[in-house]
Symmetry: C2
Subunit: 494 residues, 2 copies
């Protein structure tokens, strides 16, 4: 879910300077309207990676609004008074009353995340804490509180760079402590735990808003706009889409960057090189399925991508490496009558492999949030809840020692056109191009944002998306084979 906050979002000074005065005025007006309305409180929770600008953003927000009606609280070690009461007592003490804004820096999310990263909490303990937080936040929002949770994120490279910069500047050197570097060593674990925690504690009425923290202008303006939007919606009594649980509001589009537009192009690979690499990786894949441990795991591969992105070709190269007795290919088209009489995921559950077997899905359960969403084949509520359902489903697979590898093959619009035309010209490829393909192409932009949402919401630590730049077919196929081999190797090591 952090992918979109690692694309290098930036806003230039000119745009920023031009927009901030208006934003400040709107925020102040919203703050005074809240004071007058007096029907709800605003609770802003601040979390995220060290060095991603948490305290700076608190300062900016306080500066932009009237600080007399904002209460800011930071939580460090509990006092003895606090230790003698239930652990949530310290937060109850400082809840903002209706009409006011409270900013909580390092709130109830800190202890569970840090505890899990440091190994003091087991996975089930974390889930217990998550459940309690969910109840607490639900209670707050049922009591009318408007809750916004900001998570300021930096990629590993960005955080390292940022800490070094702070350290080199004499004015900020004091801010980087040994503890910060110690925590940096745990970056990957912290990212993994936070990702899970954020996903599990994001609710429609208490969403986590993941904001890239690299550029201070982008960060402040995104936070300010999100806060303004949320306050205005509530003050103007816009209905909240409570059904779309777990789906945070979209971040404002400030610079047009996203995970697909910033995906690097595939490297060029000629046929010669390709054939050598193909032999090498197909061989490795074949050998790994004869590993004694392979009998205890199973493999599920799924391929998604634009029409003509090369899914079929990639799948054939995988199958080519395998003993035909151990895999099953499952092309996903319209559901059968029997399947339509069952819950959506039933048609995929029925194909799950036994141990020691592969199942390869050509298109998959992600149809729910791609084609079914874009074409309106199911209601907004149905595709909206699908993200969480899919995450649950995949968690069950991975827990059951399944190596789950998910591929999105990405080509650009020109490349697709080229391939479509080629297909129309070549006799044995003509069956592969239909009127529907041309129709889908007209909805390119809608599919584009559905894919970004899909990756944001379902690329999890245990089941990440492999985004494959597929404009060079050869390079794409080799990358697919490599990822399959590596995922199986990982699963065997567990």
């Amino acid at each position: 879910m952090f992918e979109s906050a690692e694309t290098g979002h930036k806003i230039d000074k000119k745009t920023f300077d031009a927009q901030v005065p208006g934003l400040r005025e709107d925020l102040l007006n919203a703050q005074y309207d809240l004071l007058q309305n007096g029907k709800f409180s605003v609770i802003i929770v601040i979390g995220g990676v060290d060095g991603a600008g948490k305290s700076e953003t608190v300062s900016v927000l306080t500066e932009w609004m009237d600080p007399r009606h904002i209460q800011t609280h930071a939580f460090f070690e509990p006092s003895d008074e606090e230790r003698e009461r239930p652990c949530m007592w310290r937060f109850w003490r400082v809840l903002p009353p209706r009409g006011k804004i409270g900013i909580l820096y390092g709130a109830w999310h800190t202890a569970p995340i840090v505890g899990r990263v440091m190994g003091n909490l087991k996975s089930a303990d974390l889930d217990q804490a998550i459940e309690e937080i969910r109840h607490f936040e639900k209670m707050l929002s049922d009591e009318g509180a408007l809750i916004l949770k900001f998570w300021f994120h930096l990629s590993r490279q960005q955080q390292e760079k940022r800490l070094k910069e702070l350290q080199q500047d004499p004015r900020t050197r004091w801010r980087v402590t040994d503890n910060d570097w110690k925590r940096f060593k745990n970056y990957d674990k912290f990212r993994k735990v936070s990702e899970y925690f954020l996903r599990q504690t994001s609710a429609a009425k208490a969403p986590w808003l993941v904001v890239e923290g690299l550029d201070h202008r982008y960060r402040s303006m995104t936070a300010g706009k999100l806060l303004l939007q949320a306050m205005r919606d509530r003050l103007d009594e816009k209905p909240v889409k409570a059904l779309l649980d777990k789906i945070p509001p979209m971040l404002p589009q400030l610079d047009g960057k996203d995970i697909l537009t910033t995906l690097s192009k595939a490297r060029v690979m000629d046929k010669n090189k390709y054939e050598k690499e193909l032999e090498k990786w197909q061989g490795r894949l074949n050998i790994i399925t004869r590993h004694p441990g392979f009998r205890n795991i199973s493999v599920v591969l799924l391929f998604e991508g634009q029409d003509a992105a090369g899914k079929g070709g990639a799948i054939r190269r995988v199958m080519g490496a395998l003993d035909a007795r151990i895999y099953q290919g499952v092309p996903i088209a319209s559901p059968t009558e029997e399947e339509r009489a069952q819950p959506y995921l039933w048609r995929f559950w029925r194909h799950l492999p036994r141990s020691g077997r592969f199942v390869i899905f050509d298109r998959s359960w992600y149809g729910r949030v791609l084609v079914e969403r874009v074409e309106g084949f199911c209601s907004e509520n149905d595709w909206g809840r699908a993200y969480a359902e899919i995450n649950d489903f995949e968690l069950q697979l991975v827990r059951n020692k399944t190596a789950l590898v998910k591929f999105w093959l990405q080509i650009d619009k020109d490349e697709q056109l080229k391939r479509f035309k080629e297909r129309e010209k070549t006799a044995f490829k003509r069956f592969k191009i239909t009127a529907e393909d041309w129709r889908n192409r007209e909805k390119w932009d809608q599919y584009h944002s559905a894919v970004c949402d899909m990756v944001d919401r379902t690329s999890t630590a245990i089941a990440p998306w492999n985004l494959i730049a597929a404009d060079n077919k050869y390079a794409a196929r080799i990358e697919v084979l490599k990822s399959v081999v590596k995922s199986i190797e990982n699963a065997l090591q567990k």
Copy 2:
């Protein structure tokens, strides 16, 4: 939550024979309407105590309806096919399609409960399993399934009696195995774990329906009527009150018994005996507060009861035993302006005691589900969600080493009238009786059912209600003191 299913519910043969033919006809009609409608499936989950008539009820339901459109599945040890897939696969395999009814005997609830009772699962593991079940059932109901979960209950005494009866009858002797008796030894633990599990996995759209299993006629008819009602509501497209999450539908009133009408009368106690007992228990209470461990725990007492039930008198006898420096009495009346600007529970959180201290609430957070519910001071949604919020709150108290003791003092309507009149006659008691008391009295029956609901939903293994028959003031006060002493003793042993 099992209290209401331990009152000895029974239906006589005549009533049963008169009502069953109509019920069967209605059930069959509903079943055929479902088949024709074809828009949803009905999933019936069967769980409960051994000997409480689980399989008998399955047989009865199957007999009453057309067995060709009911699929019954019982789950024992998983097969090797099942073991190689995620553990929910075995349930996905047998989900009934839309239009049909599936009865699942020993479904996904069994493994977590048994695992926890046997000590194979930690408390946090159980919470994790609960969370997964909740997601699964939410998905099923979002996909349109109608889910009913029956829990057939017997009290410890009832179960013992039932097992012995089965064993003595040569026709049923084979049904009682050593395993049953082994499980019976774990009755208390099983009750405690099940109570927690049921409370946490009861949702508006997948409620647990706790049915007393003692009498086969009561049991079958309750199950049949609940099933019929749920199917009819859905077929006739009655709106489900989804907001009232966690509140199961009311059981049909078949015999007028409830926890208050079946509460035994207080034993008679004369003044002499009372004074001796008072001295004894006040002494014990005083001494226990000087126990070295007492510095590490805290005590929260709360008193609820009808007007003139003797709350104030009981509280004074508790206070009389304590050093005035270690307790604080908190009478709960209308909230202050500051309190009204905060979430409902805030006014109670602010009074929580430090370690080594008592706080005694004269009326409490239960006002939400008693006076505020009956008088309409808050919306149905607000008091509806309060049960779960209160359970969460009390769990936090108990986890924090707080001895929480909850009293409901119960008098009958005549006794109240007598006391009201007495108060009006006695000069120094006249301030205790107001017009409001007389008004409340007119709503006696509404309060009666609000109290039954409250106990059903908030009498938990960790924070049970003490129902005190208070028609004899002396006996009631001694019982209160005893319960306080015993609860503190328990808390000190943890």
